[in-house]
Symmetry: C2
Subunit: 398 residues, 2 copies
């Protein structure tokens, strides 16, 4: 520090410089000092000082392999130490828990999946612990954990308010329990809101600023990206299209109250849209149409038969696609997104289903969004949780 600089000035300036140099290293890793000078516009002494500080902080390191340059003065190559910290992304489903461990560059270094045991929170803890152990890490190495669960999550408290998909989850002290794993932040978020982040990060719509991800599995819900950011709604309950009632005729009776039933957390009944296009309904339609023999996975069987051109199976797929398109049309008329991803278990049915949805959807909407299938499949939630945890971990960088 030079004697005439004010007490505060150089510190703040050095932090700004360190941040700029770190960003440049991460984007290029590895990089030479000259690259970093060009990228940041800083002088050689400023870059050298920032690199020294980042090296002391364990965030960058010299690359050994380039030290063997034989002629002249070897260039100093600097790399980002992605192993300086780790994050964990967790997907808590009704039947299984998935935990992924990733380094600060977002590379997944370990993954673990377990069937959900009777004690849900213990299953979550165990899965995270085993994933960390597999990567030879402890809770001390973790900079952030993000957990995705079905249901409505209150952002401020992290409390799961409603979780119809997993009876018993609502109001469990999930965060308190998981905070014993690591001193770092633990966050909880709706799983489909994370899935859309995952697909936007490394899936079917990289970098999209206007995106809807529709999860079509046992349950149906949508994750929404507006202006590049997740849209959660005023109560964290945006995108709950599984409960949209698009099928009950002109003057049908009102349903039993959704809110009361769910708040009581006693039931896991499905919404109208979920019921109309759910796996059980598809299996029932397939059997009724004699499109397939009884099988352990009736849904997969009917889509397989349709792909092979079986007329009865094609008819079932077409009918289901028409119903799905009606609910999806409501979402698209209201949100007008640029891109739409269909994910969840049903999306595995593939292009035959997608083409049928597209055919029934187009007459019902006013715009022409790009409609694609999920790239990440069942990894979307855990990867989205990793992405969100990385965003949080960035706050610990200079």
């Amino acid at each position: 520090m030079q004697p005439h600089e004010s007490a505060r000035g150089p510190h703040v300036l050095r932090q700004i410089n360190s941040r700029a140099v770190l960003r440049a290293v991460r984007e290029r890793s590895p990089a030479r000092v000259a690259d970093l000078m060009q990228a940041t516009g800083l002088s050689r002494p400023a870059v050298t000082r920032a690199v020294a500080e980042l090296r002391d902080a364990g965030l960058v390191a010299d690359v050994d392999e380039t030290a063997q340059v034989s002629m002249g003065r070897p260039a100093q190559w600097i790399r980002f130490r992605a192993e300086a910290g780790y994050v964990v992304g967790v997907d808590v489903g009704s039947h299984k828990v998935v935990a992924m461990v990733a380094d600060l560059a977002g590379t997944v270094v370990a993954s673990r999946q377990m069937a959900t045991g009777e004690r849900l929170l213990q299953s979550v803890r165990d899965t995270i612990a085993e994933a960390l152990a597999k990567a030879d890490l402890t809770g001390e190495d973790v900079w952030a954990i993000v957990v995705g669960t079905p249901g409505i999550v209150e952002e401020s408290s992290g409390e799961v308010l409603l979780a119809p998909g997993i009876p018993g989850l609502a109001h469990l002290p999930v965060l308190d329990e998981l905070r014993t794993i690591t001193p770092s932040p633990v966050l909880i978020e709706n799983d489909i809101n994370l899935a859309v982040l995952g697909e936007r990060w490394c899936g079917a719509a990289v970098g999209s600023d206007s995106l809807v991800f529709v999860h079509w599995g046992v349950r149906i819900g949508a994750g929404i990206i507006i202006d590049g950011k997740p849209y959660r709604g005023a109560n964290g309950a945006a995108g709950e299209i599984g409960f949209v009632d698009v099928f009950s005729g002109l003057d049908g009776p009102d349903p039993a109250p959704l809110l009361g039933a769910r708040a009581a957390n006693a039931v896991s009944e499905k919404g109208a849209f979920e019921h109309a296009v759910g796996a059980q309904t598809i299996a029932d339609l397939a059997h009724a149409a004699e499109a397939l023999a009884p099988s352990p996975d009736a849904v997969a069987a009917v889509f397989a038969a349709a792909t092979e051109g079986d007329p009865a199976a094609l008819e079932v797929v077409d009918r289901i696609a028409a119903r799905f398109a009606r609910g999806l049309a409501a979402l698209l008329l209201i949100l007008d997104p640029r891109e739409v991803i269909i994910g969840g278990g049903l999306s595995r049915a593939g292009e035959t289903l997608l083409a049928a949805i597209d055919r029934h959807l187009r007459p019902r909407i006013l715009t022409s969004p790009r409609l694609v299938l999920s790239d990440l499949g069942s990894d979307a939630v855990a990867l989205g949780a990793v992405r969100r945890a990385l965003d949080h971990a960035e706050q610990r960088l200079p």
Copy 2:
């Protein structure tokens, strides 16, 4: 300017000071120099200089009335010259055009309404010209004009892409025509997107950051505010719930294509939701239920009878409210807004209808948004256009 100040520094600084002082005057108008010093943190010389500059620019003036203080040195009161500029907000409907002229403080100084003539653009021009004449102004006094129309408006070009409500409007050179009125900017926007701005400015949900305005008239559509800003969708087509099909039974046929028919601009057929709860449907239901004698305004008559407790009329209102609630529920499940305003002609039916909607809505949604009727009624679009024009005009202030 002091000789040792750099060429650029004092100019920029003075502009920043002028902006701060102007903002303080506008918030307090009238205000004393001491008030402005306190509000801005600037010195007396800096405030005095800024006031002098703003006075030269015609944006502030001394208040005459306070000059008559008899004892001691009278305080100098400064007011914002709201009459320094004017904006025009226009509502182009299928039957009438409304133009409102407001000063820079947002006070409406003149308003003019005309029936739409055969030559639509001429009607719009004439209405604006008459409103300006009424206020003794010319196009030179106007800082911005914003025109609201039904349909989907392309933000960049201002072109009306689809306008099913007003046959012949789509692809008319609206902006080219109106730009001959004034040298200032002319913008065009979907009318319901403006209505929600109006209600947020001075209507039923002042300052709300999470708001949906549902227009329920001959047509149905929604204006959406997310994070305090209008949400238009990727193609300016967000909120088109009039076309949501929530009524056609489980496996009904696909409708005729919306997009093709509308792009051809040949028809003005209604969307499924519009049809199910439109004025004609209400009148038909009322007659079928013998709830009222034939009348020129069957809709008003049935709501009036319901308010007086007529059982047959109450049943019609209840049935319509149940249908409306079903479509509204789709919107609320997807967007989860904090506040919902119901506007448009049907909202004039008042609390009897609102209570019935509320009753049928609650079982269908997962959250508890505040549900209210429009405050601004048929002025919402024109006032929203004024608000949008004011936002635009602000760019001309220092």
